[in-house]
């Protein structure tokens, strides 16, 4: 394979992930350009979350290599920020919003060290970036779903990463949070950060993302949205389920010059 190009924020080669002997993701190879807002789309069970988890080594990959700016993932871990799915944790945990955001600093702190005053100030700043400064002392179970999601985003911001992985940050959030998130994503993009977002609302894909990765147990297509988000690729990604999304696809056919689907 050779060494990946040092300018590429993320390059993965031939990743295969298997749960219980059955591969859920086969031979995915990808080169992600810098400073893009990337949507990872595909049907339920396509392996979207699995892909971003396996890139970060959170689920073991059966094979494959991941390099970050030309170096192996393990050496570059500090460049990565992660927003897991909101449901993945118990929100009744005894802690407040600021404390959760501080967890984003733990990676930089390393073993044994406690967060300093500066870490706390930075965490507060991250909270205000997502419009949650007033809630820093709020017990996390008393936050609404959207607010919890924003706390998770603030925690990822606190990591001061170059590359962000976000697992369905738009799932089940209110309109205000959705706006806040997309604003934040665009800010990150403006700072030349690379953001990969697992997303499943096809309606908003062209509006939110300038680059997309389409997967369904294998890589279907990856590239700038206007080139890749075609009815042809959607057909390949969603297979028989395409009828469901027929009208959404038709909406997008104006921009991608492909024939409308029935």
């Amino acid at each position: 394979m050779g060494i990946a190009h040092p300018d590429l924020p993320l390059s993965i080669r031939d990743i295969t992930v298997a749960y219980q002997k059955k591969p859920v993701l086969r031979h995915v190879s990808l080169d992600i350009p810098e400073g893009r807002l990337i949507g990872i789309i595909g049907p339920n069970g396509a392996g979207k979350s699995t892909l971003i988890k396996s890139i970060q080594g959170l689920v073991p990959a059966a094979s494959g290599q991941v390099s970050i700016y030309g170096k192996p993932f393990k050496e570059q871990r500090k460049l990565i920020g992660y927003v897991p799915q909101r449901e993945s944790v118990d929100w009744d945990f005894p802690t407040d919003a600021l404390d959760v955001v501080l967890m984003g600093r733990y990676g930089k702190l390393g073993w044994f060290k406690r967060p300093s005053k500066r870490d706390k100030e930075w965490a507060m700043e991250c909270l205000s970036k997502v419009g949650m400064a007033d809630y820093s002392n709020r017990q996390i179970s008393q936050l609404s779903g959207g607010q919890q999601q924003r706390v998770f985003l603030a925690r990822a911001l606190a990591q001061e990463a170059q590359i962000y992985f976000m697992d369905e940050p738009f799932a089940g959030v209110d309109a205000a949070t959705e706006k806040a998130i997309i604003q934040l994503l665009n800010d990150l993009k403006a700072q030349k950060k690379t953001v990969l977002v697992v997303h499943h609302d096809l309606q908003t894909v062209t509006e939110y993302f300038d680059y997309i990765v389409m997967i369904n147990k294998r890589l279907i297509a990856a590239g700038p949205t206007e080139e890749v988000f075609t009815s042809d690729n959607l057909q390949k990604t969603y297979g028989g389920r395409l009828q469901f999304i027929g009208e959404h696809t038709a909406v997008h056919t104006d921009t991608n010059k492909k024939g409308a689907l029935v």
């Binding site: 945990f93 005894p94 967890m103 044994f112």
Partner: protein
């Protein structure tokens, strides 16, 4: 014996020290087990320790805690390994795997224990105390071991507090940060096991789980902060340890271990009922309060609504309305409505018709209160129906009132929209509603 004499007895001092230490370390580690959803793991580990202890005794003939620690650690680890493997490689879930292992290991332990008791090594007496524990049998060397072990446990917990917090809250994120979560999980398990082992002699296999979990659950009732919870849990453990020891020295034939457990359960029950934030009593009171408040608001709004209707329909609108009419409007029983009206009367918000006391109406103050309620309600309705029109408004929908969250321009805009949708409350002139000062002036129109 009086208390002073009891405390001067070196034997009691050892037991007291041992039980307090045990309470602290099991309380602290139990907090993490509880938060990780591993409450039963402590129980499984305690039961699994029994065969290890028996085997060590069979092999060495020694009854020192140090040796027992090793044996219990080995069989506890084996049980943990079995539980993990069963969960990982079969479709059996963790609770079932726990139950399977707990009983099998305990069964083996009892078999070995019976064998030891019927053998003639002569030194076996006291080993059966591991079932229910016997704190009085603690001697200086045992307590020294307990001091050493619990100090190590507490120091590690203090050092790795942040890492354990991460492990308990969000393992996936921690792994992403590069912390070896598998190792930390294993370490926590071993530490849990060690705190179980030092408690076996005092509290016994069967009751050990209570030492781990009860103080932790109790502490959770009093705080929303992990560090405070861990400290409180240790404190509660220590308190129950001291309580159990002292009570059993005062009264003949009281077993120390079970009294410790009963002590910590008493603390738990007290917290369950009376903790200000999560306790049943205060939650119930708060619930009743909210119910009452909602009822009163409903009645005020219904009265306002029927008044508004009457103003629309009649040239000479009525000012007073029957309980029945309000009951129909609010969808509540007449009895409930009447009771609420009487309370509102006492508050000075509603009045009875002088000619027909069965009929009710607002006084000036009540009308303004009702007006604010109705306006708030309708603004919320408007906001929720047309949320897209109001993007850029930072509105926290969990708050009760919307008006304080709006700036002047936004409020004006929303009031215009209300007008547009014909939803403006009409019984008090809108102009009188000052933004800066939320109490309307007295110039309102009454029906």
């Amino acid at each position: 014996m009086n208390w002073l004499q009891v405390l001067q007895d070196p034997n009691t001092q050892w037991v007291l020290a041992g039980c307090i230490l045990l309470g602290i370390s099991s309380g602290v580690l139990g907090s993490f087990a509880f938060l990780r959803g591993r409450s039963l793991m402590g129980d499984a580990l305690a039961h699994a320790a029994l065969p290890g202890v028996c085997l060590v005794f069979l092999l060495t003939g020694s009854k020192s805690i140090g040796f027992f620690l090793v044996g219990a650690a080995i069989s506890g680890l084996l049980a943990t390994y079995c539980i993990t493997m069963i969960t990982k490689h079969s479709r059996i879930k963790e609770d079932t795997a726990l139950a399977l292992n707990l009983s099998v290991f305990f069964g083996i332990g009892i078999v070995l224990l019976t064998y030891i008791q019927h053998s003639d090594s002569g030194n076996q007496s006291g080993l059966d105390k591991f079932l229910f524990g016997q704190a009085a049998s603690l001697v200086g060397s045992d307590v020294n071991t307990m001091i050493a072990v619990s100090s190590v446990l507490l120091i590690i917990t203090a050092l790795l507090f942040k890492e354990f917090k991460l492990l308990s809250f969000d393992q996936g994120f921690g792994k992403g940060l590069g912390f070896p979560m598998g190792f930390l999980d294993g370490l926590l398990m071993v530490m849990l096991l060690m705190s179980v082992v030092i408690g076996l002699q005092a509290v016994g296999v069967v009751l050990m789980a209570a030492m781990l979990i009860t103080p932790a659950v109790t502490a959770r009732y009093w705080t929303n902060k992990l560090s405070t919870m861990v400290i409180l849990s240790g404190l509660f453990g220590a308190l129950s340890g001291a309580f159990g020891t002292l009570l059993s020295t005062q009264i003949q034939n009281l077993p120390t271990g079970p009294i410790i457990v009963l002590g910590s359960t008493t603390l738990f029950l007290f917290s369950l009922l009376f903790s200000p934030k999560r306790g049943i009593l205060f939650r119930f009171l708060r619930f009743m309060q909210v119910r009452k408040k909602v009822l009163h608001q409903d009645i005020l709004r219904s009265l306002y609504d029927v008044m508004e209707d009457s103003k629309k329909e009649n040239s000479i609108p009525a000012s007073f309305f029957s309980v029945e009419r309000l009951a129909i409007k609010s969808g509540k029983q007449a009895q409930t409505v009447e009771k609420a009206l009487r309370t509102l009367l006492k508050k000075g918000w509603v009045t009875q018709d002088k000619e027909d006391p069965q009929k009710w109406g607002f006084n000036q103050k009540g009308l303004h209160v009702a007006h604010s309620l109705v306006l708030n309600q309708r603004l919320w309705d408007l906001f929720q129906m047309h949320e897209q029109n109001f993007h850029g408004y930072t509105i926290d929908q969990s708050e009760e009132e919307i008006i304080p969250q709006l700036n002047g321009v936004q409020l004006e805009m929303m009031l215009k929209e209300l007008e547009h949708h014909n939803m403006t409350p009409t019984l008090v002139a809108i102009q009188s509603y000052k933004i800066a000062n939320h109490t309307p002036d007295q110039g309102g129109v009454t029906a």
